[in-house]
């Protein structure tokens, strides 16, 4: 047994620890990227995670067939526990999809989360939030990396490594207006076919692109060809509920593949509360927590600890380990808006026979006030959504809303849009009891004006492409509903305590690195998940190099995996 004095000076007894070269906390996309990179570099890796179940199975038959014929469809679509009826006000349909019920479960309780005007989602599942993500993939470019102490060239090898591992589809042809935006340095599979509305919108855009708007094929982590034991998309339409063919990437699939690799060990059912920096005695760092099912103490030792608990979880682990309870910690999000586009030329048509739930088209709109500023968004078909998800937003009587949506839906597209994190003043604070308060606040001056400006700009641009932004449909979501969190332990070239060095090392916690979006000093409007995975890969390579260079802290022989 080891006895360890924690940051708050309590003395705890721990069972003999498991140890490895690197301990990765969190099996989401960043943690799995770090684990893969560590194993590739020949390090032994212990991955510690909540280990909760992922998404549930969806039917083999296609969504349209099930919906139009199967009297028992409610078991999947509503859930035998009526999950879809809970959370009437939930910001995203994903929270109502019964098959996702385990992905978000238990997170708020585990962290003692209290939200004030903020939606803080997280996951204790193996695979983390990638179990239910939108799968948008983009490489940050040099402009996006403004404020990062990291050069694009340092990330590029990692972009290629991660892309090859997870499998991406989209379009890299230069005639696609978004290809350069998403990055052309990575291999992509052909994009899935567009549905009719998206095809027409893109064709009209191609004939006469409105100024300031770039519109092109989306880049998603969805396979159109088989890859790494996963199947290509067959347009079954179940995307929102979970892909039965594993076409849409989830870190869970890589986690499953990691189990066979030498030097890898997985500890599920764990909740890490704090990390202890490298000890003078044995040169090891420690991750300290408990086993979720039994409550017993857990300690895992590593020459390095890589924290990938998600920006909120990582923020809590790092700042609590530094004894920084009660201090406000900035939290970044990309403010999100939803809206609907109506294509009059398609009015009266039938619903798409082969629905697709991920983004089909993506756009970038230059902010007229700032030439280097932009907003980013995705356009989706409505065919893979339950109509009642749209009906609930229509301010008419329910029968009228149903008829209106039935009439409009085949000619409707829905879109989201994200803005850079500059407009938020959200903060996270660890309470004296160890729980987390998250407070969401948008910048009161610039933000409403920008929202209005962007709405006008988008409405004008899309009108020129033959699509009408439905009046009243442009709705900002509450802070955090984008589920793009970051910035709680930002990388700086000269970090203060609680910030990180360019290699993710936390100032004040020797041996501890942050590898998820907590390390991002800013979030551009562009989806950050893929760059986050690449950054985890980059940091882990640096860690491996430092360990291999005879770093004094490394044990003489590789630490055994117990």
């Amino acid at each position: 047994m080891e006895r360890i004095v924690c940051a708050d000076r309590t003395l705890i007894s721990l069972p003999d620890g498991v140890s490895a070269d690197i301990v990765v906390i969190g099996a989401g996309p960043a943690g799995v990227a770090a684990a893969c990179a560590g194993l590739d570099a020949g390090l032994s890796v212990v991955l510690v995670d909540g280990g909760g179940p992922g998404i549930e199975a969806v039917p083999d038959r296609g969504l349209v067939e099930v919906r139009s014929r199967d009297p028992e469809q409610w078991r999947v679509l509503v859930g035998t526990d009526f999950h879809a009826l809970r959370g009437d006000g939930a910001a995203t349909p994903k929270l109502r999809a019964p098959t996702n019920r385990h992905v978000f479960a238990g997170y708020a309780d585990a962290y003692g989360l209290r939200e004030d005007d903020f939606l803080a989602l997280g996951s204790l599942s193996g695979g983390g939030l990638s179990n239910a993500w939108g799968a948008g993939v983009a490489c940050y470019d040099a402009d996006d990396l403004a404020g990062f102490p990291v050069a694009l060239a340092e990330l590029e090898p990692s972009f290629r490594t991660v892309a090859a591992r997870i499998g991406i589809s989209g379009c890299v042809e230069p005639d696609d207006a978004m290809a350069a935006f998403f990055g052309t340095a990575v291999d992509v599979q052909p994009a899935p076919d567009l549905n009719e509305n998206a095809r027409r919108l893109l064709a009209r855009y191609g004939r006469r692109p409105p100024p300031g708007l770039r519109l092109g094929r989306s880049r998603n982590a969805i396979l159109t060809r088989d890859h790494a034991g996963r199947q290509g998309c067959n347009r079954c339409g179940w995307c929102l509920w979970g892909c039965g063919r594993k076409s849409i990437y989830s870190a869970r699939y890589d986690l499953e593949r990691l189990h066979g690799r030498a030097g890898f060990r997985y500890i599920g059912d764990a909740f890490i509360e704090r990390v202890l920096p490298r000890s003078e005695d044995d040169g090891m760092c420690r991750a300290v927590g408990r086993v979720r099912s039994t409550g017993s103490a857990l300690v895992v030792r590593g020459a390095r600890i890589l924290v990938a608990g998600g920006a909120i979880g990582t923020g809590r682990i790092v700042h609590d380990s530094l004894g920084r309870r009660g201090r406000p910690i900035p939290l970044l999000t990309t403010p999100a808006v939803g809206f609907a586009l109506w294509m009059p030329e398609r009015f009266g048509a039938a619903a798409e026979p082969q629905p697709f739930g991920l983004a089909q088209l993506s756009f970038r709109l230059t902010d007229p006030e700032r030439a280097d500023g932009y907003v980013f968004g995705n356009i989706f078909g409505t065919d893979a959504l339950p109509a009642s998800e749209l009906v609930r937003h229509v301010p008419l009587s329910r029968p009228a809303a149903i008829r209106l949506i039935r009439g409009l839906m085949p000619s409707l597209l829905v879109a989201n849009l994200f803005m850079p994190s500059d407009h938020g003043a959200h903060r996270l604070e660890i309470r004296a009891d160890g729980g987390i308060d998250v407070v969401g606040r948008y910048d009161e001056d610039g933000f409403p004006a920008k929202l209005a400006r962007v709405r006008k700009g988008l409405a004008r641009a899309f009108r020129r492409c033959g699509a009408v932004m439905l009046p009243g449909s442009y709705k900002p979501t509450i802070p955090g509903a984008d589920v793009h969190y970051g910035g709680t332990v930002p990388m700086r070239s000269a970090p203060q305590v609680g910030e990180a060095w360019p290699d993710g090392r936390v100032e004040g916690l020797p041996g501890v690195h942050v590898v998820d979006a907590a390390a991002f000093p800013r979030l551009p409007a562009k989806p950050h998940t893929f760059t986050m995975m690449a950054n985890a890969d980059r940091i882990t390579r640096l860690v491996a190099r430092s360990l291999a260079n005879g770093d004094a802290s490394r044990p003489a022989s590789p630490a055994p995996i117990l």
């Binding site: 679509l77 509503v78 009526f82 109509a387 008419l396 009228a400």
Partner: protein, 447 residues
């Protein structure tokens, strides 16, 4: 949102001792405690019968003989005591216990509980708050003082009713209403605050359980009083299924009649004691207690049924909502799912739609079309819409699987918008009708 907080208790809840276990409330308490995982020891003059009675340990107990610790030898450690046993006579007439005997019995029980470290819950009466009109309320108040002084719990229930077997005061009222051709409606009307016996028992089990609020007095009843004659009418309509005539009787007339009856030989004497006690019942602000215990009283119309719950009314509501949304003939399975959904996701309480709306669901439209009007209805309609869409018929209603052409689609949307416009014109009237749904059957909601 569960109606019953007892369902929140873990199985293996501990050991509960219940006095008066064979009485009206006692029988229900024992059954619900056993269902919630308590081990129960019943203390009463006669053993509680039925299936529940067989599953608990019985120790003969009489208020006339104060308990001593030896009586509980072998019963094991007790976690909580609910003291229900009482002499229910309202005055000193007839054979029975003296006031002192009853207080002494409570003291003895409290001493046994304290010695064993058990929580003590005394079931008092709404009348204990009054200025001691009767022997009954005087005894209750004296015991309350003793229990409160010892750091125990005091429960003041309102008008207890319902349950599979009508007994106690509720049983007497049921008997009267079942036989009487008229129901006297006293004017001014005395007010009662009903509480279903199962809701009351769930509240007491919460007090006995691990997540109990702090000791003190808990008033358990519907926060909104109901005129006594409306309560009797609900018994008539929903419990004994009769429709006797409601006859307004001025109280002054009753008093005069009593005086006359007392003077005229051979006429039965009219004892106004109980009526008087009823009239003087102090109103209780039960909201803080109900919130602390997580109790939502069920509507009278439901609670009056022996099952205590009206799935039939929820089913009728579900069928009406589905028809309103556009389902020509909602299937049985779909309606059953609605009932189960409302019971498991919502509070299981019917909205109390007026009969015309159940028969002609289109009448809901003026309320539904009114922007921002009735959140409760909208919530249920959204649930019904989600359930309906997840059926083949619902899919056809919600999604245009075949092309329909511009003109038919435009006409369809145009007509439905016109209908909403008309509905908006009618909405003030509909809202008035809606407000009236807190009607004579007592289907009102507390929130």
């Amino acid at each position: 949102m569960a109606l019953s907080s007892a369902s929140g208790n873990e199985p293996e809840n501990g050991h509960l001792l219940v006095t008066g276990a064979a009485g009206y409330i006692g029988r229900v308490l024992v059954a619900r405690a056993l269902a919630a995982g308590w081990r129960v020891t019943a203390l009463s003059r006669t053993a509680p019968g039925g299936a529940a009675g067989r599953r608990c340990r019985f120790i003969p107990y009489d208020l006339a003989r104060p308990i001593d610790a030896a009586a509980l030898d072998g019963a094991g450690k007790v976690d909580a005591v609910v003291h229900l046993a009482a002499d229910t006579r309202i005055d000193e007439q007839g054979p029975g216990l003296s006031e002192e005997d009853e207080v002494a019995a409570a003291r003895a029980l409290l001493a046994v509980a304290s010695a064993g470290g058990a929580r003590f819950i005394f079931v008092s009466s709404q009348s204990a708050g009054a200025g001691a009109e009767t022997r009954y309320s005087r005894v209750k108040r004296r015991i309350e003082e003793v229990v409160t002084g010892a750091g125990g719990y005091v429960v003041r229930p309102g008008m207890v009713y319902g349950g599979p077997q009508a007994a106690g005061l509720f049983g007497i009222l049921c008997g009267l209403v079942a036989r009487s051709p008229v129901i006297p409606a006293l004017r001014p009307a005395p007010q009662v605050q009903p509480i279903h016996v199962a809701d009351l028992c769930d509240g007491m089990l919460t007090l006995a359980g691990v997540s109990a609020p702090p000791p003190g007095r808990y008033d358990i009843a519907d926060p909104d009083p109901v005129p006594f004659d409306r309560f009797l009418a609900a018994i008539a309509r929903h419990r004994v299924r009769r429709s006797p005539l409601l006859v307004p009787v001025p109280y002054a007339l009753l008093v005069a009649a009593a005086r006359i009856a007392a003077r005229v030989p051979f006429l039965p004497t009219l004892d106004l004691g109980r009526v008087e006690a009823l009239r003087r019942l102090p109103a209780m602000d039960t909201r803080p207690s109900m919130v602390a215990l997580g109790l939502i009283p069920r509507p009278l119309a439901d609670g009056m049924r022996p099952s205590g719950r009206s799935r039939r009314r929820l089913a009728a509501e579900g069928a009406a909502l589905f028809r309103y949304l556009g389902a020509a003939a909602p299937g049985k399975g779909l309606v059953r799912r609605y009932v189960r959904a409302i019971e498991s996701v919502d509070d299981g309480v019917p909205l109390g739609l007026p009969a015309p709306m159940l028969a002609m669901p289109a009448l809901l439209r003026p309320i539904d079309a009114f922007p921002g009007a009735t959140g409760w209805l909208r919530l249920r309609l959204n649930m019904a819409a989600t359930l309906l869409e997840a059926t083949p018929a619902g899919d056809a209603l919600f999604v245009a699987r075949r092309p329909r052409g511009i003109l038919p689609t435009a006409i369809d949307i145009g007509l439905t918008l016109v209908a909403d416009g008309l509905a908006l014109v009618l909405s003030p009237l509909a809202k008035w009708v809606w407000a009236k749904r807190a009607g004579p059957d007592g289907t009102h909601r507390v929130r």
